[in-house]
Amino acid sequence: MQRSQEAQVKLLVDVRLDGANQLSQFPSSPTLPAPATPPPLNAGPPLLQVRNLRTWFPIKRGVFQRTVGQIKAVDGVSFDVQAGRTLGLVGESGCGKTTVGRTILRLIPATTGSVTFKGDDFFAHRGEDLRHLRRQMQIIFQDPVSSLNPRMTVGNIVGEPLTVHNIAWGSDRVDRVAALLQRVGLDPSYASRYPHEFSGGQRQRIGIARALALSPDFIVCDEPVSALDVSIQSQILNLLDDLQRERKIAFLFIAHNLAVVEHFSDEVAVMYLGRIVEKASRTELYANPKHPYTVALLSAVPEPDPRPKKTRIVLSGEVPSPSKPPTGCPFHPRCPLTREAAKQANAADTVEITTAGERVRVLRKCVEEVPPLEQKQGEPGHVAACWVTR
């Protein structure tokens, strides 16, 4: 039973992702069953707890490098990742999703906030302690070219974690590296090769093998397939899928491709301008998006059917600079919903703003107050940050 179900899922995945460039059977498409049985969320204490994470980059000017402002790349992000589960993090370029992943792993120092891993404050550790903890949290990068050191052999790249943590030496290390390469679908004889001899998909497999070397419980997948050909994408995603099932690894899956995230995640969080604007289980989010930004994002997913059934929501204006985010709800200058709502509201509750060269009337509340991430109608745990939607 289990087996056949798995096979079915796999088949499904292949079919869906092979056509992924003009993708896809859109999420809510009724012809498709849910790709995998949705696991219960919030079961037990989370593996990873991120609370109020802020990563601000100072803007320095002048001879004395005075700080004249902050780029708020990540501005108060909170979420949980359950053991063995996947949280998808989506958003357009520059919304801070990559920074979130790197800040969690302390590749970039956090400004404030906390990351609790297995009930332990990860940011409190230093030196040898921190090094030891790093064994449990790894990362897979987007760019398969720059993420592998061109001067090191594949064997040294994959084996480096073993050396750094004093786990294996000599022939033991060679054996382990061979096993890892085999596990990610590469020939063990590739260990003596250099990265530039491989294709993008193969390099990504090398990167995955390196991340697996320390048997981590949590891996940040930072757009692991967006630099790959569509046909290769499905191979890599299947590999990650298999690994998760086999080793119970939790993923933070960062992507801008909504179809990939839908296939891959148990829970999805949508980011806009450094904040999470909506979060729900996969099925719920795709079937019943609440935040106007999510709705717009979903409407932009290309469909294979040339006669569009749904209307595409085109947002006006540009993403504002994270150094000067709009007041109140960061989405208000582009939000179609608040404009609609303003038409029906009392004139006293509305205010006129200039955005992308046009004057529009929006709700005063949206301009003045930051909406909290709160429960909306629908599944428990479906939260969104919006003053307008219910």
Partner: protein, 335 residues
Amino acid sequence: MSSAATPAAVDTVMGAVALSERPRSLWRDAMARLHTRKLNYVYASVLAIYALVAIIAFTPLLGKSVFDAQVGAQYAPPAFTGTVEQGTANEHSTIRPSLWLGTDIAGRSVLYKLLYGTRVALTVSLLASILSVVIGTVLGLLAGYYRGWVDALITWLYTTINSIPWILLMVALAYALKDREFKMFGQEFKLVGIPSIVMALGLTSWVGLCRLMRGEVLKHRERDYVAAAKAVGAGTSRIIFRHILPNTFHLVIIDFTLGIVSFVQAEVILSFLGLGVKDQPSWGVMIDDAKLELMRNVWWQFAGATAAIFGLSICLNFLGDALRDALDPRLRGVD
């Protein structure tokens, strides 16, 4: 589920690049690239001959007794043969290599002095190159990796040094260091000859490499492979020396090669100004001597020394350029 085998099978069918028979490291690629131009072998063999001569000059075969011996009359012009056992019954003419380039004011062989001068030239330039490359590399790595105040300090240091014309600074430092005595480890040292020249050259010429290294390191430290090493738990020294340094090492090699050329020339300048080596022949000292001899039509000492410098410089330059072409990723379109 044989998922381990499936992707591998897929991989061999699609997307895989054809692998050459042997792993191609970037160094091996560079060597192959050097190999395609046969002229590089000519440069390399000429340099090997220079090196061999320098090594021989460290043995008694070309020692003081050889280059200091009087072999003929004062300022004897170059000749292929010469008479031996003059004044005896056995006096006859024979091939005498010592006279091939004539003699100097004391009747010493110019050829032997020239050959011995290779030792001085190569010793000075190699040691100075090593010194400057080590300083430039370490400071460049530190400035680029740590940034912040470390970078500010190092940048300040090298821009200050760079604002003074190199030759002036080098000459000034050579003056300052000349015959200086200092105490270290309870012992008295006196900087004479080669050590003082090496320090004057090495301490003033690391700026170019340091600046290049800093720039490259700034670029590489943001690469994902560095982030991956951090995520894996690699320490700072491992990241700097095992990851970043090998990726910037081509700069070191090119700077080292081209540095030797300029140091050979600099040694001549210092010797010409009387700041060079003493009590042993060097190309610079020979050219310094020649400035008076030329008026008396004694051209061979000058010609010999310049030809030796020319041969060494041109081969090093060509080989250095070839190395740069072979190693620099930007010129290869890899980066």
